[in-house]
């Protein structure tokens, strides 16, 4: 297979993460009453961005031929 599945996974979660983080920064605090006052969009968005970066890094490492075939 030519396509490394970590590439679309990384890209998709980066997109989700950026959307959520951005929304978390600009949305009003009142909508977070239901989530116990925590700005879950901001925090979970950052988690997803980090996850996306890890996936892209793994895919990139393999593309340069240094990763294992595993």
């Amino acid at each position: 297979m030519n396509l490394d599945v970590r590439l679309p996974i990384g890209l998709m979660f980066m997109a989700f993460g950026v959307l959520l983080t951005g929304y978390g920064l600009f949305s009003s605090d009142t909508i977070y009453q239901r989530s116990l006052g925590v700005n879950v969009n901001l925090w979970w968005g950052l988690v997803l961005v980090a996850f996306g970066i890890v996936m892209l890094a793994l895919a990139g490492r393999r593309r340069r031929g240094q990763g294992t075939t595993e």
Binding site: M1, V5, P8, M12, F16, G24, R34, S35, V40
Partner: protein, 582 residues
């Protein structure tokens, strides 16, 4: 009837939720990626082997996550949360005594035969090992079952979208059917597997915040246990029934599942779970697509590692929902007979806790789970249909191109049939119970056939076929003569007129149906095999039977790549989980 009532009530509950632009944006990004993967992968489909088996080129970890995800349909997410609410942590036995040991077993002991025989499907293995009629029987029943399961997935998705988004049932069915159709049609199994991996991560990241917030709101595990103690005492049980997995299994009357330890371990653990995970082509197909024998054997074992933690994602939300429902009042809408509608545990929690943004992610995760379940069934269906029914009985000896075209046509047909099944799925309150019923009839005897086929060279084709038939008939008779307490005769039992035994619950009835079916098949297969002549010599059975297959040496691999070593670690950790939540 009960469904429409619940719909009305939940809609009232959910009116506070409005999906914002951000939620739709997440949903659209997801759809774009799903279709994009199908579009990119389509170039790698050159022959039928690529379309149905991914050209046997998938790495173990990808196949493993797909192995897990293909089973993450409506049954898993909605059904497990529903059971978590209805029965509490005892539902975890579906994983800790059921799925995990079975997955380790199929990886270590059965994959050498599935992968090594170069069979392209589970029914084809049965043909190589036994004979044509055994394959035909398995292929036909399996084809019907996959369409049925796929229909349930679609039904659950459409119902949910109707509740949460106010989309029409018909439009949701159409939308999900078209998207799954597109990506399976374009990229075949590879496309399905890649999307399943995507969906796996989406399901984890979509549900984890829900569980974390819910648990925090309940006051952690200790707080949740206190709430669940109220749930249990209100229902007339000991306080720990909803939060302790083994302590209340000494008698069927002591727990809401109505099962005692023997029915649990034998019925659910040994017969149903091994029957499903070891013989169901839907999951086995993912391991068959792996890029080497050792990868194929590692696939189910690697899948077992996240699988053992899945109760936290799919059962815990149900427990949180029922705890809140009982102690704070009214989270779950009632059904017509006054019991809470357990199937709505996850949607109700999503609506309750998640703000716009994460709500979109949670909903997307739900949709992803339904679609992966549907796609899993469709890819298994088109393979069995094309190889085991069409190529074997209808049009043998055509070109590979012809069968590839048939695979595309079968994908369309499979989805149309699932749509029909979706409209037929409105009878049971708990989808899980219904699926268990179907599995009990078809799958429970099957595991006896495979066990004897793989480990006893004397088992014959006649023995296997008539043994299977006996097992399935015994399952139907047992179901037809027994009834769960408090239910009318009909689909749920006693359709043969008499009631010989009344079980405390549907779950208990299903487990025992499975035990009877398995035992009948096991005994009948041995008896008939001994009475009939062997048609396959030892040479024919090489690579198909344990005693006639050379062992796979794996001692040159590092320890973390050896299937047996990984299996032992997985079983050890599962035992630990059982003890912690004893």
């Amino acid at each position: 009837m009960s469904c429409t009532l619940a719909t009305g009530q939940l809609r009232a509950l959910m009116q506070r939720i409005e999906l914002g632009a951000i939620d739709y944006a997440i949903l659209i990004v997801y759809f774009a990626f799903v279709l994009g993967i199908g579009w990119i992968v389509r170039r790698s489909v050159r022959n039928s082997d690529d379309f149905f088996l991914s050209g046997r080129s998938i790495p173990a970890w990808v196949a493993g996550l797909a192995f897990l995800s293909a089973n993450l349909g409506a049954q898993e997410v909605i059904g497990m949360a529903a059971s978590g609410a209805k029965y509490g942590i005892m539902t975890s036995h579906f994983y800790w005594i059921g799925a995990i040991p079975a997955m380790v077993f199929v990886g270590i002991f059965m994959m050498p035969f599935y992968y090594g025989s170069r069979a392209r499907s589970v029914p084809e293995y049965l043909k190589l090992r036994f004979d044509e009629k055994t394959r035909g029987f398995n292929a036909a029943t399996f084809a019907v079952m996959t369409v049925f399961s796929s229909g349930i997935s679609m039904y659950a998705l459409a119902k949910l979208l109707e509740l949460v988004l106010g989309w029409s049932f018909h439009m949701s069915v159409l939308l999900s059917a078209v998207i799954v159709l597109c990506y399976v049609f374009l990229g075949g199994l590879t496309s399905a597997i890649y999307n399943e991996v995507l969906q796996f991560f989406l399901i984890v990241t979509g549900f984890l915040p829900l569980v974390l917030i819910g648990l925090r709101d309940a006051g952690g595990w200790a707080g949740l246990k206190a709430q669940l103690a109220t749930v249990a005492t209100n229902a007339g049980y000991a306080p720990g029934v909803w939060s302790e997995s083994w302590r209340h299994l000494d008698a069927p009357g002591a727990n809401p599942m109505g099962v005692e330890w023997f029915g649990m371990v034998m019925g659910l653990g040994f017969v149903l779970s091994f029957g499903y995970w070891c013989t169901d082509f839907l999951v086995v197909q993912r391991a068959m697509a792996a890029n080497s024998m050792i990868a194929a054997r590692r696939t189910p074992v690697l899948a077992a590692i996240p699988k053992m933690l899945f109760p936290a994602l799919v059962i815990l939300p149900g427990m949180i929902a029922i705890g809140m429902h009982v102690t704070r009042g009214g989270l779950l809408p009632a059904t017509a007979d006054g019991t809470p509608n357990y199937n709505l545990a996850i949607p109700a929690l999503l609506a309750h806790y998640l703000p716009s943004g994460l709500l979109g992610l949670g909903l997307t995760a739900l949709m992803a789970s339904f679609m992966s379940g549907m796609a899993g069934n469709v890819t298994a269906f088109n393979t069995v249909w094309t190889y085991d029914i069409y190529q074997s009985y209808l049009r043998p000896g055509r070109s590979d191109r012809h069968y590839l075209r048939m695979g595309h046509a079968a994908t369309v047909f499979g989805i149309l049939a699932s749509v029909a099944a979706a409209y037929a799925t409105t009878r049971f309150n708990n989808i899980m119970d219904m699926l268990q019923l179907v599995f009990a009839f078809v799958n429970a005897p099957l595991f006896a056939t495979f066990l004897l086929g793989m480990f006893w060279r004397r088992a014959t084709g006649h023995g296997a076929f008539f043994g299977l038939l006996t097992g399935t008939v015994v399952a139907a008779i047992h179901h037809g003569l027994t009834l769960p307490r408090g239910t009318p005769a009909g689909l749920k039992g006693a359709f043969l007129g008499a009631v010989l035994h009344t079980y405390p619950s549907e779950m208990a009835q299903n487990f025992w149906t499975a035990i009877f079916a398995w035992t009948a098949c096991f005994v009948a297969t041995i008896g008939i095999s001994l009475a009939t002549r062997r048609t396959k010599s030892d040479a024919d059975l090489q690579g198909l039977v344990y005693a006639l297959t050379p062992r796979q040496p794996d001692d040159r691999l590092p320890w973390f790549k050896r299937p047996a070593m990984l299996g032992a670690i997985v079983l050890g950790l599962t035992l630990l989980l059982n003890l912690i939540f004893w």
